[in-house]
Amino acid sequence: MFAEFGYGVLLVSLIVAIYSGIAAVNGALNKSAATVESARRAMLLTFPLISIAAGTLIYLLVNDHYEVAFVYEVTSRSMPTYLKITAWWGGQAGSLVFWSWLLAVFTSAVTLRKWDRDIEFLPWVILVSSVTLTFFLGMTAFFENPFARYWVTNGNVAPSMFAPAGATLFTPQDGQGLNPLLRHPGMVIHPPMLYLGFVSFVIPYAFAMAALITGRTDDRWIRITRRWALWAWLFLSFGLVLGGRWAYDVLGWGGYWGWDPVEIAAFMPWLTGTAFLHSVMIQEKRGLLKHWNMILIILTYALVIFGTFLTRSGVLSSVHAFANSPIGPFFMGFVSLTLVASVALVIWRWPILRSETEMKSMLSREALFLLNNLLFISILVVCFWGVIFPLVSELFTGQKVTVGPPFYERATAPLFSGLLFLMAIAPLSAWGHSTVQTLGRAIWKSAAAALVVVVALFFTYTKNIGALVGFFLVALALFATTHEFWRGARARQKTQGENFFTALSRLMGRNRRRYGGYIIHISMALMAIGILGIEIFQKETQGALAQGEQLNVGDYTVEYRELASWDSAGEGVNHTRAVVDVYENGVYLGELNPRIDYYFDSQQNMTIPGQRSTLRDDLYILLVDWQPVSSAGATFKIFVNPLVNWLWIGSLVFLLGVIFAAWPDNDPNEETARRSVTRSNRQPSAAD
């Protein structure tokens, strides 16, 4: 009953989405405001419709309707209600509905804005959203239907939406339950964050396409969608960080990032999105790179669709899995089609996207931004090729290969270092023109300070060349960026006669975008400290210990005290928990409790490390194995992860920075003031 209802509503929303696209085009071509308005209302209607379908799905999930295949796959009776709700995005079919729902939310929000002089964009924005929404709803309606139920025909159980002839409904007693690894709070909110990021990037893309179709090639589309892009980027970044934290907490390999194809799938749109956020500034300030910005947002959109598909389908494991996946070919078809159509639009509009000015010097800020784009795209190339290559290899030679961390680390380390360096110098260069002398004058103090730091590190911490180079770049970026804050505040202090802190806060408040950006740069440098620490200085050891025996790693000594195993019946979990005492250089620090949880419903283990976290390092202990009978001996794996906390601290600073940059301005004059500055910046070049 509920399943049919949900499916029916899903179909209706699909039809409404298709209608809104057709009406939008029709209205635009016939210049009929009424038809466009009808398209807009249809688009608005998709939101309540998909909400009802999603609500029905949640109802089925929460009320143990195991006759529904999706409910059976992702929930079980022992799961608490909040987990049953979040199981909505715990499997492919549900997460496609979730995606559609988010898109309906965002599209509704954007169609409700005041369009005024941008009204010509409206039908095309609706069209792009409607095509995307139609695709996702179509996937759920015809290929990954979350409402399909189990039917028994001649003793065979198979899921299908409607009863096959002579079949009876089959209701399993209990569900399989969500993969325990996905029950971690980090994993409960990680997919929605990623999806929020993914879906919000559809909006700038829709506006970009609208700009191409209407031929309005000024930077209006960029200005309208700037905040969308920033929020999209925030969610995507936050999603990535949460994923890393989750991996660190529950995957039990002592790391946060394993260059797994699924991780990379989410990382790729982040790369193009980050490049986009930088390069649109050049278009806004200098009227350059219009083609390039179009290409970046198109790439981001394509990678978002590609990433959504990869993260959920597991098709990358083999060519076979891809061909067998019911939705694989459709996703690829959709990505290719939108890519070809968008690129065709860019080529069609190529002549009118010409730059308004020229590059003047290779050290100008716009030139350095381009270099930054080159580096981001290079990292993308490495990632994309690494993810795709196993498929290529299997397709052409039949040989299965793994492209693992060593490949990515070797290839991307110099590129990331380049980005750090640019982060230090680019903010110091001027728009239009800079020379080696002007840049040198601006940076020498920071460089000297960074050198002092490196010399100090050389004598006290490490003699590893790679690490020293890394720390130099981090310090350079940190000093150069903080120097910018100091210099700006001092300049204001002099001209306005304010005290330093008032000057600083007003300076930042009136220039949110720039200083938000600098805060983000600082956060990146902090995160780089954590990454350098764990990548270069991680120590690990493993050993089987009898009670009272010890294991040493770095300055730490770990002593195995006892182990206990018990069932917690209500949750359907068996816990095995060890108690170990931790000493540092002989000083007792306390006890840690690494444990393994065994989930009966899904028959899977979850390894929870015992962690002791400080700014200097993390002691990270895993229970690997134990003797079940005597519990007298147990095997532990111990990691010392230096500086890794800076990664998480950097992430928090990052959040602050993006929110600071994206927060709506209180001052209504802000926008006009900035525009007039931009215009005055552009004047000389426009006159050329």
């Binding site: 002592g254 590059m359 299965k400 239009g432 020379t435 194995d625 005055s680 000389p684």
Partner: protein, 165 residues
Amino acid sequence: MKKALQILTFALLLAGLFTSVAIAQDDTPTDDEVNAVAKQLYCPVCENTPLDVCPTEACRQWRELIRSQLSEGMTEQQIKDYFVANYGARVLSEPPRTGLNWLVYILPPAIILLGAFFLFRSFREWTKASATAATISAERSEIEASSPAKDDYVARLEEELKKRK
């Protein structure tokens, strides 16, 4: 003197004997030695999981296999070759550098270099174009060129501030 030398030789021999006994007793490779090899291999059954951290029973047995291979005196390379021979190239963390696999190493740097080349060529064109433009409006470019980053920054800042007062 001769006797002292004999005693010394005897003592050295004895010490040598004891150490070799000690080594023989401690011949089972430690978990760390096993992991050092397992780290470089990928679980043949699970996707993208290094063998040293893979929690499955199958992988535990493979680690034990590595341990016995190490104690038989096989080198790291021999063990890796054994796994490749039995489970295919996918157990390596990177594709072996043969045949088509070279593409994985060559293509990205080639594309990156190509991108860099195009970028710099465009730079050259742009700067050349603006140099011609500069002769037309030499005065203006000179003003721009002579304003260093810092002054330009402060000037802009002050300009913005003035506008907002």
